[in-house]
């Protein structure tokens, strides 16, 4: 089992008057090759959970195992790529090119291989080639996000851990990134992604882990999640249940515009036939 989280509890400022328990007795597994979405309100403990999985935090109680090793153990470091919410935290080189190349160079790849990896990774995230020689800190927020992700992808990690990768990206950037994540996933990478963008994610992810006040409120498939009576519904699902409240007997468990359109269309046609 590649990622196993067992009985994990975590508090910030433990042992002080500001002690703040964020995660409470969490247990779950992520199978190899799965795309798991972590959802939950602000402050539910999502980002803390990711830091525990990549080994940046140690649990107060319980264990986090990656391929059988403790998270943060030397032997798992090259296998996990992580993109933080704030991309500036992981940019530091003089040029964007050097920033993307940093990972693969440190993993011991030859310069030519590294060059190829830089180009491939920047193409995947849609980072403009002409910006490769500029300073990372002159880029706009969205471009910084793409750059940080390119740096992670250049290492070709087995596990990709993403904290809100689409925030700050515009529509084109987001669409491009999500379809490329789908591609990376289809090639066998295990992905765990925190997001607030329900609709796009539900078409990509297989599993949903829904956190509430530091505990797991729901863990299951995407379809089960749509049917789960949580407060967090995609806009279309929300609208379809509103239609039901207005007496229209339509399927509520839909989340794409096209599905909703077909459902409403066939419902209206049926109603008209019944009238005739």
């Amino acid at each position: 089992m590649p990622i196993v989280v067992r009985d994990v509890t975590y508090s910030y400022s433990k042992g002080t008057s500001l002690e703040n328990q964020v995660l409470n007795n969490l247990t779950f597994k992520v199978d190899e090759g799965k795309f798991t979405a972590i959802l939950g309100d602000t402050g539910a403990g999502k980002s803390t959970l990711l830091r525990l999985v990549v080994g940046l935090l140690k649990p107060d109680n319980g264990t986090v195992l990656i391929d059988g090793f403790d998270a943060g153990h030397r032997s798992v470091k090259g296998t996990i790529g992580v993109l933080f919410q704030n991309p500036e935290k992981q940019l530091f080189s003089k040029t964007c090119y050097e920033d993307i190349a940093f990972g693969p160079l440190n993993l011991g790849f030859e310069k030519e291989d590294v060059h190829q990896k830089v180009l491939t990774a920047s193409a995947i995230v849609g980072f403009e080639q002409k910006n490769l020689e500029t300073s990372p800190f002159k880029l706009s927020g969205g471009e910084k996000k793409k750059l940080a992700l390119a740096g992670v992808l250049a290492m070709e990690p087995k596990y990709l851990i993403l904290d809100e990768p689409t925030t700050g990206l515009d529509y084109c950037g987001k669409k491009g990134l999500l379809s490329n994540l789908g591609l990376i996933h289809s090639k066998g990478t295990t992905i765990i992604m925190i997001t607030h963008q329900l609709t796009e994610l539900l078409s990509l992810a297989q599993d949903v882990l829904y956190l509430k006040d530091g505990t797991i409120d729901f863990h299951g498939s995407v379809q089960e999640f749509i049917e789960f009576p949580s407060s967090n519904k995609p806009p279309i699902t929300h609208f379809m249940s509103k239609l039901n409240e207005h007496g229209l007997q339509v399927n509520q468990n839909l989340y794409t515009v096209n599905e909703a359109f077909s459902e409403i269309k066939s419902y209206v046609h049926k109603r008209m036939k019944d009238h005739v």
Partner: protein, 275 residues
């Protein structure tokens, strides 16, 4: 006119021009949304508006004060404050309440007034229970609320919001929008920079930036009438997309207002249930 932008050009050192000749006037009390793709110059424009950046050519007047004159800067920043995309870069103190007090302290506000301002700002942003926390231990949404409280405590006439919701969940966003509405009601001028159209449907005007120039100024309803939104990289809210599809199919025959998503939903439900 509260804000006047006249033929403004701007380029970062050695770089290509980012703002390429912008003219825009904003009245006191207006809610203006500046929209456009990543890298189109939105954030640069917002930094030009309170003198963090100075135009390479052309000029910007805030309530008649030219941002290019260093002696005007303090007065300009009392009038127009920015809340940035990334809240963590704007914290300077170790607790939330001290951080909020930082602005008014630097404006020489008397101590007893400061505590009143801090309390009001905390209450406005529902952050009172976190007043003794270190800002960096808060979640992204809570941090952003702290940053907004910090700006509010300086009581500026105009607040510039630069992609402030990008780290918030739906609940956090709703809180911020409710708060912005409140600010609008008490007469504050609001300039809201975003690429997420659904956040600004109730703005008085849309200003669309493309590659450093303004190619659209007008109401949101007029904006949605443009037929090249997809090419412009505009993400149309899903309910609006659904409405357009039902309208084009002839299922919905009425033309509906699309400046408020929940009203649009309500109208659609009404029309469909009457069939």
């Amino acid at each position: 006119m509260f804000i006047q932008i006249k033929n403004v050009y701007f380029q970062y050192s050695k770089g290509n021009p980012v703002i390429k000749g912008i003219d825009l006037e904003i009245e006191r009390g207006e809610f203006v949304a500046i929209i456009g793709k990543n890298g189109c110059g939105k954030s640069t424009l917002s930094k030009l508006l309170n003198g963090l950046l100075i135009p390479t050519s052309g000029h910007i007047l805030i309530d008649g004060l030219n941002t290019a004159s260093p002696s005007n800067l303090l007065a300009i920043r009392k009038k127009a404050s920015i809340v940035f995309q990334n809240p963590i870069t704007q914290f300077v103190r170790t607790t939330v309440e001290e951080d909020i007090a930082f602005g008014p302290e630097n404006l020489n506000v008397p101590t007893d007034e400061i505590s009143q301002l801090v309390n009001n700002s905390l209450e406005f942003t529902s952050m009172s229970e976190f007043r003794y926390r270190e800002p960096k231990t808060l979640s992204g949404g809570q941090m952003q609320r702290t940053a907004i409280a910090g700006v509010m405590a300086m009581e500026p006439e105009c607040i510039i919001f630069d992609e402030v919701t990008s780290m918030l969940d739906q609940k956090g966003k709703c809180e911020i929008f409710a708060y912005i509405n409140k600010l609008k009601k008490i007469g504050k001028t609001i300039i809201y920079v975003t690429h997420r159209i659904e956040e600004v449907l109730d703005a008085d005007r849309f200003v669309h930036l493309d590659n450093g120039i303004i190619d659209f100024i007008g109401t949101p309803t007029d904006f949605f009438k443009l037929d090249d939104l997809d090419q412009m990289g505009i993400e149309v809210p899903e309910i609006v997309q659904l409405y357009s599809m039902l309208y084009n199919e002839g299922i919905i025959k009425q033309s509906l207002e699309i400046t408020d998503i929940s009203r649009l939903e309500e109208n659609l439900c009404q029309l469909l249930s009457e069939m």
